[in-house]
């Protein structure tokens, strides 16, 4: 007998995703992850790549849903298209895949323009590089990005103002350099 979860429509899945509903998120994994994994494994990828791509795909879908995306067709199909594009783009950057097909370069989106999709990709790229910084850099930059004055950041972390100013500048520079070196950034710019 099909479960209640099985009967959720694309709209309900999208709403659940947007709310961060654990049950819906797990259902999405259980229903759609294996398709993406198969695709990645069959196209020069590993299981770790598949996990990464599916996670990124859901993050992008969350951003689209937050901006008002409505899926009129299949939720799974839409998600798979995002993941597929992400993986093929990654292969292309690694020179493992070439294609002139337009649909391999741009997600077949129902409501979003390419420009908006680039904005999402950039956002996720910035966050990914931020997450690779040292814990100290993440802590310092995290507080500053929350617009906490440097004096307060120094106070909170037990350092001098001058140290925080210097350290935060170094962390920012490191982050920006890392991002600029990423081939995806060049592609999106």
């Amino acid at each position: 007998m099909p479960s209640e979860e099985k009967k959720r429509t694309a709209t309900q899945l999208l709403e659940g995703l947007l709310k961060g509903d654990d049950v819906v998120l797990l259902q999405i994994y259980e229903q759609f992850y294996e398709g993406t994994e198969r695709f990645v494994l069959n196209n020069n990828g590993t299981k770790a790549d598949a996990k990464d791509i599916f996670h990124d795909g859901l993050q992008e879908l969350f951003l689209q849903a937050r901006d008002g995306l409505q899926i009129k067709s299949s939720f799974g199909g839409y998600l798979h298209t995002i993941c597929r594009k992400k993986w093929l783009n990654r292969l292309r950057r690694q020179k493992l895949f070439t294609s002139d097909r337009a649909e391999d370069k741009i997600v077949k989106s129902e409501e979003s323009t390419e420009e908006i999709l680039i904005k999402y990709e950039q956002k996720l790229l910035f966050r990914k590089h931020f997450s690779t910084l040292t814990e100290k850099c993440k802590q310092v930059l995290g507080l500053i990005f929350k617009e906490l004055p440097l004096v307060e950041v120094a106070d909170q972390l037990g350092f001098t103002y001058n140290y925080i100013r210097k350290r935060s500048s170094e962390c920012r520079k490191k982050l920006v350099d890392q991002i600029k070196k990423d081939p995806l950034f060049k592609e999106l710019s």
């Binding site: 007998m1 099909p2 479960s3 979860e5 099985k6 961060g20 654990d22 049950v23 998120l25 797990l26 259902q27 994994y29 259980e30 229903q31 992850y33 294996e34 994994e37 198969r38 494994l41 069959n42 996990k51 599916f54 996670h55 859901l58 993050q59 969350f62 951003l63 937050r66 950039q122 956002k123 996720l124 910035f126 966050r127 931020f130 930059l141 995290g142 500053i144 990005f145 929350k146 617009e147 906490l148 004055p149 440097l150 100013r165 210097k166 935060s168 500048s169 920012r172 520079k173 982050l175 920006v176 991002i179």
Partner: protein, 251 residues
Amino acid sequence: MSTDKDSDDRILPYIINDLGRDELSKFEEQLKVDSTLRKEVALSHQIKLAVNDESLNEFDEKLKAVSDQYHKGRTTHLSTKRLTFSRTWLALAASVLVVIVCFTWIFLEKTPLNAEALYAQYAKHDFSFTERGPENQLIIAEEFLENEEYKNALPLLKDYLVEDPKAADVILAHGIANMEVGNFSQAISIFSQLKRDHPIFINESLWYIALTHLKTGELTQSIASLSSIETISGRYDKAQKLIDQIQSLEK
């Protein structure tokens, strides 16, 4: 062209409006003539917005937890794993499959099983707790569990749950340890509470309630619990197979 050191140091205070009046006017003067600096400021501002996206941060945390839960479940349930073979290995894989099928047919279908043997066949547990920092207590408990020293693991798990009563994976392990040492009613009570309080553990709880009943020979209750496992669950196929096997025991 790269920006000079002083300008670099001013970018962050500038984007959060934390520059003094003199520094601000100097910086703004420089911005007017330095396009590289303007790009650096714009990029830093975009990064700030991306990192500071609170609802995305919250979503990301939840997604990581669900992803861990899902992948942990997949690792445990080998029956749901789909192995992909390259063409070269396909022939070899097919031969191995034939041997496995014959083995399974001879030993599982032809050999009459009892509830205890069925339990032993299905009671394979995976214990890798979600990382929660350097708690020695959990690391030691995990070692005990992996070595099937359930009695030793029990007090550690119980103590941990006093501090962190919502740790679902530890609650599950606590239930399993109770089941393994024969505290059946305690185990059922733990799994039932887990099912009630943690929706993403519903199918896992049902599975273990069924195993506990199987171990105590309460076959009807075991089938009832297995029948409630949802079709979307990674446990579903295994649950259906176990139902068939239990039903054949009952005949």
